[in-house]
Amino acid sequence: MHEESEKEIKKLVMQAKKGDLMAFSKLYEINFTPIYRYAFSKVRDKHYAEDITSQTFLKMVDSIEKFTWRELPFKAWLIKIAHNLSIDHFRRTTKEKSVDYYEELDYIEDKAINGVLFKKVLESLDELDEKHRNVVLLRFIAGLSCKETAAFMRISQDNVRTIQHRALKMLRGKL
């Protein structure tokens, strides 16, 4: 949807660090959907996903000054915040009754999505181990590039490609 170059993002982040409202607004527009999707695919609950998304953006306002390009690209940094929040969520809700995420299908606006396929994809993702599942979610749900995924997972790009290939191979048999 938003295919901003890294240069543009850098510029926006610099402006946001200075407190530019427009820059913040643009960064929100660019990153809202990937973060929401990532959060939803992690927690499989609409309300929790919304909660995680809002917390991610509010945290971003608080700590954008500390952000540096040395460690992670901006998008990967935001996904990392969402990832950590989802881990916290799982810690809190391990003993709670698991939510039936298929109920959330009503909220999916895209008509192209077949409910059955959606269910099947999520089920097959659950069967993958965490490393493979994370690569698939980061690459195809959150829309991170190979480089960003490598930075996020602290592994090499070659490693990301290998894991991705293996995960797709595993999913091929299930879908």
Partner: protein, 307 residues
């Protein structure tokens, strides 16, 4: 096999990044091509999963919340700008503050430093800076005059401790300063020129420069002037002139207080101002003379009365 897989992974990555298929698939054999195609099929399915969107109301609500938070932060950033800057440069700020305090302390300590003190060079350096940064002629002249007074004080101190080696240097400095002062006074555009001249003259009058007094000492000296001249380190007496030592007048012997008043003749005048000291005082003072006179007892008094 491993190499084969690497090739497929690379091609898959290239295709995912949106590059045209023809660039990579031409070199592939059927088996590899099928594998890549299947992988891409899975990716398409996964991407269909990623095509769901969030609730629009939630999206707008969160945006408003987000923007208001940014606005709040902007306000807090503006109000606490100094503290943020301070935190950001905490280390460098602390170092510079420490350095500043240290240098200020040294500068303050050096103001009263004497030539034998290790802080004396600091004092001299501060004086030099002070002199160079004063562009106004009047202020500069006043400062130089003040420095001259300092030098005089230092010379006095050196004489006191018996270190005469540094005195010529200080003298030279004083002379240079006076020359500079005269130059400043010779220049135009000076406010209160007369006052400055008077001050310089006062200095020259009070302090003897180059071993010669610039003016004769006035007879009506103030107490301070007299004190300064008596301990003036720069005052070197002129050997060509004879020193007039005041002739001591023989003191008149004081009349013995216990002596009985004499009978003065007409030619002689009785000392009018000398009053007889009351007896009570004499007894209290207990001078040796009083001790020599035996005390009169009651019996002796009676005898005197009989006589």
């Amino acid at each position: 096999m491993k190499r084969n897989n690497k090739n497929i992974e690379f091609i898959l990555e290239q295709m995912l990044s949106g590059k045209p298929k023809e660039d990579f698939t031409n070199d592939l054999d059927n088996e590899k091509f099928c594998e890549v195609k299947k992988a891409l099929g899975v990716v398409d399915k996964l991407k269909s999963l990623a095509s769901f969107n969030a609730d629009k109301n939630f999206r707008d609500r969160l945006k408003n919340e987000f923007i208001s938070k940014v606005k709040m932060k902007k306000v807090s950033l503006k109000s606490g700008k100094t503290s943020v800057i301070f935190l950001r440069f905490k280390k460098s700020f602390a170092i510079s503050l420490a350095f500043l305090l240290l240098s200020l302390g040294t500068a303050l300590a050096s103001t009263n430093a004497m030539p034998d003190s290790p802080l004396y060079p600091v004092k001299k350096a501060i004086e030099a800076i002070n002199k160079t940064i004063s562009y106004d002629g009047r202020i500069r002249a006043l400062k130089i005059l003040n420095f001259n007074y300092r030098r005089v004080r230092e010379i006095k101190y050196l004489q006191k401790i018996g270190d005469n080696k540094k005195i010529p240097q200080l003298m030279k400095e004083i002379n240079q300063n006076i020359k500079e002062l005269k130059l400043i006074l010779a220049g135009g555009n000076l406010t209160n020129k007369e006052e400055l001249k008077r001050k310089l003259n006062n200095f020259l009058k009070e302090q003897y420069v180059d071993g010669k007094p610039t003016k004769k000492e006035s007879t009506s000296k103030s107490k301070n002037q007299q004190v300064q001249n008596t301990i003036n380190p720069l005052s070197i007496p002129d050997k060509t002139k004879k020193v007039q030592t005041p002739v001591k007048k023989p003191k008149k012997p004081l009349p013995n207080q216990n002596d009985k008043p004499k009978n003065f003749s007409k030619d002689e005048q009785a000392p009018s101002k000398i009053k007889p000291i009351p007896k009570s005082k004499i007894i209290k003072n207990k001078s040796p003379l009083i001790k020599a006179i035996p005390k009169k007892t009651n019996s002796s008094k009676k005898e005197e009365k009989r006589k």
